[in-house]
Amino acid sequence: MSLMQTSSAGALGARQETSRTGGRALLRGLLRNRLSLTAALVLLTLILAGLVVPFVSHADPTATNLPDRFRGPAWVAGGSSAHVLGTDGLGRDVLVRIIYGARISLTIGFVAALIAATLGVPLGLLAGFYGGAVDAVIMRLADIQLGFPSILLYISALTVLQPSLWNMILILGIAGWVIHARLVRAQALAQRQMDYVDAARAMGASNTRILARHVLPNVLAPTIVIASFSVATFIITASSLSFLGLGLPPSTPDWGLMIADAMHYIRIAWWPSTFAGLALSLTVFGVNVLGDWLRDYLDPRLRIDS
């Protein structure tokens, strides 16, 4: 599942001009697109809820209350206003868990995406810019990574490292480097032949300087887009691992874990999995829409006839 969006990468060219347009234009573009705006607002709300609520509320997402288990949402018979979205199999409040879960799930998605990009971009730059043996080694490593059935990689790595939030993030992130490396390599290859690189070199700039000042900024835009897509993928992959019983510690208020856990009693209590699933879907939706928009925005050719 780490093999996502590789070729949406292919669809992206290097856009020298885009990275210079600046934040204000970005914001203006966002405000013009209603769908993207909605997505951004949804994401922002979730992030804010996840960040703020844990500090202002005393609710405990792991507090169990067995006699209170399987209480329906407030508007359903048997529900109470004390638990607006009901309770789960151990009597924990679903709403509280979803709000706290925002923090966990978004951390998984964003941090893993960050790790993947941090590893993949430099490796891709090196491979593309230097070529030769460096390129060969890095690209063979990438092939090995891609050839490894990803779920098996996650599972065996998790049994080595022991399941925990940060180990899961680490493994997802590390396994995600290939897409970035491949994409950046292709860009760097192209950039290497550009006149401005020759010019810079003629002016005596070092390789490091050329890479950092000229090549990197030009490959950054597609990297950001790819990263935004992989946020969603990582969240979903993490939930799949939880479903297989290999993910996070059981009381963690993670959306994926909540869905996986509540699938076991879906016929008795539909609400825990449904609401956690809604939160997950909204987030994935939001991140994808933003990613789409980001790509449209960074890719002027797509705006030609609109």
Binding site: L66, L90, T159, P249, P250, H264
Partner: protein, 571 residues
């Protein structure tokens, strides 16, 4: 005796009608098959006393028993085709060679096809199966079995003393063990050699006197010498041979195992013609199979789904208390748990009744009182603990418990009913008390390695089962049954006394003395609390009411117990 004969006659009549019809299609063998059936059923009257379930099977007329593929077609059909029963379980054995497989699941598969010398019945009492008579040693060493005459494996070779000897020789053979054969029974029994006295009389001789040996005869499947002697291990792994009521047909790994009725079975022809075991890992999918009528029995039902089954008039919920004692293992060698009062406090600190009632749907019935569960053996003077957090707190304070230290509860994610939820509920109780407790989930192989290497440095949830027999059950905390790390009783103050008394019970064959010793051992165990006893593991089954099948406590899945009729399709 009259009722017995009546039941048999009814079965013969029912069976004959079905048999002739089916055989008409095959055109030919009907007469001889019916004759064979009569002969086979005649043989059962010796060994099958009337059963509790015969009332339900007796009320079924041949027409009513016609298969209507589980309620899909509403119109009752008079034609009675072959009767088929489908069982869906969450997992399957990795091999069908009983001497190679270590997991408990294989018994649930092979019970339909292979047989032991003896078997536990529903009351956990030991009953003869292949053995007509069985005798505990008078010299402490020699177990003597006289086998039923005229029993045959499916290939026609006799089930005799030689087969018993072959079974043990194969299991003890050093070359076989090098190739991965891992049957623990002969080693646990301490078997030295097997004597063939005459074709139907066999003596199993142990090296030292050991009361452990007896119940394990209920665990060693008797193998067909010709088949298992000539086939390679990769052949016996996928195609078993046996003497049981159903014959092996095919096994598609990960999918299903098919069996067909053994018409020559020595206790009579089973009523169900085709028995299918399906492997369906997901519990929600299994329930869907039951609801669709694609499975007649589903195992490992999630207790949260129990109301769904109970609410449907087509199904009934069956629960089987197993012999697995779910407990919290306490590493008594660790400083924080060295003081006995700290361990006793844990007994008061956890609201086990609430866990049973809410998390487990009330199915384990009650909190476990002593580690011994076989009827007649639990020490009557031991009272179950009750939830009392204040008592727990004062005991912990008296033991000088450090409330700031982190407490871990190790568990695996699978392997028991709602195990993760139980672990979370336990930790929540410890947190309420003021402990810094948390659940630590381990991969099951890591967990087992830690268990076996005695590496647990803090609390862990464990479950241990043993054949139901008092003197064997008190061996659980000693490591004599393997898993020698699971107990930690040797690190306690009374550990040496316990081990000493246990050695006595191992060599005492006198019933009254045995009871006395087992009682003393239980008292010592509860005093030291190396385990916090929780409850007996339960297996829940969803059963289509068309069959009268019921689970059992020891083997869980059995289609023809000693002293009973075979499983019937009744509607």
């Amino acid at each position: 005796m009259g009722a017995d004969l009546d039941a048999i006659l009814r079965r013969v009549v029912a069976g004959e009608i079905r048999l002739t019809r089916r055989d008409l299609l095959r055109a030919g063998l009907s007469a001889s098959a019916a004759a064979a059936l009569l002969a086979a059923c005649g043989g059962t009257s010796v060994s099958s006393p009337p059963t509790q379930t015969s009332t339900s099977s007796g009320s079924a007329s041949p027409a009513a028993r016609a298969t209507t593929s589980a309620g899909l077609s509403a119109t009752p059909q008079v034609t009675s085709g072959p009767l088929k029963l489908v069982l869906a379980q969450s997992s399957e054995p990795s091999t069908l060679d009983p001497q190679f497989e270590q997991s408990g699941i294989i018994g649930t598969y092979l019970n339909a096809m292979q047989e032991h010398l003896m078997e536990f019945d529903r009351q956990l009492a030991i009953k003869n199966v292949l053995a007509e008579t069985s005798q505990q040693p008078t010299d402490g060493l020699t177990y003597r079995f006289k086998l039923h005459p005229n029993m045959k494996f499916w290939d026609g070779t006799p089930v005799d003393a030689n087969a018993v000897k072959f079974t043990y020789d194969r299991a003890l053979n050093a070359d076989n063990r090098k190739k991965g054969l891992s049957d623990p029974v002969p080693t646990l029994q301490g078997v030295d050699h097997v004597n063939v006295v005459d074709p139907l009389t066999v003596e199993v001789v142990t090296a030292k006197p050991s009361t452990l040996a007896w119940p394990f005869f209920c665990q060693e499947f008797v193998l067909a010498p010709q088949y298992y002697g000539s086939k390679s291990f990769d052949q016996t792994a996928i195609a078993p041979m046996g003497s049981g009521p159903w014959k092996f047909v095919s096994w598609a790994k990960g999918d299903q195992l098919q069996m067909t009725a053994n018409t020559d079975y020595w206790r009579g022809k089973p009523q169900i013609d085709t028995l299918v075991f399906r492997t369906v890992p997901d519990s929600s999918t299994r329930l869907a199979l039951l609801q669709r009528g694609d499975a007649d029995i589903i195992g490992d039902v999630n207790p949260d789904d129990a109301p769904v089954i109970q609410a449907d008039p087509k199904f009934r919920l069956e629960s089987a208390l197993t012999t697995f004692r779910v407990h919290i293992g306490v590493p008594c060698n660790q400083p924080k748990w060295k003081d006995r009062r700290a361990r006793t406090a844990l007994n008061y600190a956890i609201n086990v009744d609430n866990i049973i009632k809410f998390v487990l749907g009330g199915f384990p019935k009650e909190r476990l009182r002593t580690p011994v569960i076989t009827p007649g053996w639990p020490n009557p003077n031991i009272k179950a603990y009750t939830y009392d957090p204040n008592q727990a707190k004062s005991l912990l304070n008296a033991a000088g418990f450090d409330w700031t230290q982190p407490i871990k509860l190790y568990t695996t994610s699978s392997g028991g009913m709602k195990r993760l939820d139980v672990a979370q509920a336990i930790v929540a109780d410890l947190q309420k008390l003021g402990m810094k407790a948390q659940v630590q989930v381990l991969d099951s192989t890591v967990y087992t390695s830690k268990l076996k290497a005695k590496e647990f440095d803090d609390l862990y949830i464990g479950q241990l089962g043993a054949p139901s027999y008092g003197p064997v059950e008190v061996a659980l905390p000693t490591g004599d049954l393997g898993l020698d790390s699971t107990h930690f009783i040797d690190a306690t103050q009374n550990g040496p006394t316990y081990l000493n008394l246990y050695q006595q019970v191992r060599t005492t064959f006198d019933d009254a003395k045995q009871h006395d010793l087992v009682n003393q051992l239980q008292a010592l165990f509860m005093e030291e609390s190396p385990w916090i006893l929780l409850y007996r593991e339960v297996y829940l089954f969803g059963v289509n009411k068309r069959t009268d099948w019921k689970p059992t406590e020891y083997t869980r899945i059995h289609f023809w117990l000693p002293g009973e009729q075979d499983t019937h399709i009744i509607g």
